[in-house]
Amino acid sequence: MDLLAHTGVPLEDQMLTWREMAGKPISKLDDDAFTRVRVILMNALELDAMRLQDSGARNEADLRLSLACVRRIEQHQATAVSWMLSADHSALEATVACEQVAVELTAAIAQHEQDPYLAQVYRFGLLENLDRLYRYAALLDRLEGKDANNILQGYTDIVPGRPTPETHRAPRDDLRRPSGPKARLASRLHMILVAAAALRARDYYMTVGPAFADPVARELYAEIASCGEQHATQYGTLLAPGRTFLENWLLHEAAEVYAYLSCAQSESNPRIRAVWERFCDYELGQLQHVGELMRRHEHRDPAELLAPGLPAPLEFRNQRDFVRDVLSEEVHLRARDSGFVDRGGESAESLDYRRRVNADGSPSTQVAQSYHWTAGTELNRPRPPS
């Protein structure tokens, strides 16, 4: 798809009423789990757009009005998407869904990524998200008496991945090698999507964590929010440094078009699909606006950044076989500097950091002690005869 050939909806015509923002939510029971995955992903991407534009407004005096106009509608879009998640999702159920997004999205992207280093980084992160999903599923079962599979709907396995207590690393070992100037457009869009999902997870856990009364939940959210920060660092450092703000903004708008288009093409709920289509047209309008700013302020053709057009749509389907293969082959890997090493090869700095942060105990270990997922919760397992 040639992105600049589509004008989309002009910026001045982009408007949502409060009623449209607080529209009818999805059904936790009847909608497909991937509808929820799309909702969480698109919310993550809209929040990331606002984050980028906020930081741009601090430095780019000439762009402040444009940024304020685009950010206003992005915020309304973020609201409309976020409000789709129905109120009968507990914070913990929404958390399980958040980790399902991370597992399924990262697995899909890892398989389509042509740069072997980037694909390795995604596979590495994937196994950490798989483990967090398992820990949160244990908490959901043991705190609320609920089966995480009511949320996952059989698409995603509930098993340990790379053990969360062993993933706490020194910041140096979370830095990854930045992509170079020749990185493909598809790779850049992947990086933006995965980084946005990681940032949303971190921020969501930091928002809902303190709302739990249970000390076990409070500690687990504190621990996994920190893991979210590590992933935000990991994926954030993949993005190429040294680009102008307008380049980053243009690429982000392209990522939003790409993601909404992928959502629209795979959505099973017609009412939600109509929203994805509408917002895809909005994003095309925003992309045109940023492209025009680039021509005016940098005297550059935005088409040079957007060649060769959008890659194949993102896949929203279960990636079970791939995830199981990665788990069996790469669970032993650990990060050191920007590379990956065997379990015994970690840096002294990371080992020391882990010892200190786990010094009062490991919530992710305690919450999942002997946890074995069973359909209908672990209480549903037949008890051995006494």
Binding site: A87, E144, G145, N150, A213
Partner: protein, 262 residues
């Protein structure tokens, strides 16, 4: 792991000992001068509604809710049995239109409720265990374990009943999803290290009162559906719940009123 050395127990032990009177800042009368000033300023800035009943009725809010209720779908659907069993067919024959699905929905609700109750009782056991080390309690922790185990037994009764109807007991029915919203607040009360045993007993009493009433309803549904086997088990759960309510009230009353003289 030692039962008395769980993360919950460690937090509970740090809790202040008494709920004595202190400097609570939430009341308007904490600052009488500010109260007078705020009230007169608010009266000056916003006209009082006429008639006064308008504010209580919340007409603006009601209009919005009305519009949303009219447009809303349902929370979700009742999952239909994978295979129609004899028991389900009998229910469908004996009960008026849609009531067989209602039975599946209500059984799903009871299953979810009892499953959450097991976790709620476990939280109460953790708290009582931690408190027992330093305080005289009106109950034995072992008694709470019995209540927890009976909640588990009731969960299995609901599971078996759903199985006998050919329904998927691992599915979440609409009423089950809604019941989870009700128990959410109770979970917060029971797992908060700062709450007292009295506050926890009040909270779990509301769970058991609702539970007793719900098993009673299920007994009537099973009777109407001609499900004698189910009725037998539901009646057993109902009797247990009745006992749970009595025990919880007794313990709660002892904490508030003191132990009876006799």
């Amino acid at each position: 792991m030692n039962a008395a050395d769980t993360p919950v127990s460690r937090f509970v032990r740090r809790r202040p000992r008494s709920g004595a009177a202190g400097f609570n800042r939430t009341g308007a009368q904490t600052s009488p001068l500010a109260l007078r000033s705020m009230q007169s300023y608010a009266d000056e800035q916003v006209a009082l509604p006429t008639p006064i009943a308008d504010s209580a009725a919340g007409k603006g809010i009601a209009a919005m809710r009305l519009a949303y209720v009219r447009d809303a779908g349902e929370v979700g659907s009742v999952p239909m049995p994978g295979a129609i069993t004899g028991a389900f067919a009998l229910c469908a024959t004996r009960l008026a239109g849609g009531a067989a699905e209602l039975l599946v929905d209500k059984l799903g609700e009871r299953l979810a409720w009892e499953r959450s109750s097991v976790r709620l009782y476990q939280a109460l056991i953790d708290k009582a265990t931690a408190l027992a080390a330093s305080t005289a309690l009106p109950l034995e922790v072992e008694e709470l374990r019995q209540l927890r185990d009976e909640a588990l037994e009731h969960m299995h009764i609901a599971t078996s009943a759903l199985d006998s109807l050919g329904a998927d007991s691992s599915a979440l029915t609409p009423s089950a999803a809604i019941s989870a919203l009700v128990t959410h607040g109770i979970t917060q009360v029971l797992t908060d290290p700062r709450t007292t045993l009295h506050q926890c007993l009040e909270a779990i009493l509301t769970v058991e009162l609702a539970d007793e009433a719900s098993w009673e309803l299920l007994m009537r549904l099973a009777e109407a559906a001609g499900q004698d086997e189910l009725l037998f088990h539901f009646h057993r759960a109902f009797r247990h719940e009745h006992t749970h309510v009595r025990k919880l009230k007794r313990w709660r009353d002892e904490l508030v009123l003191g132990a009876p003289d006799h």
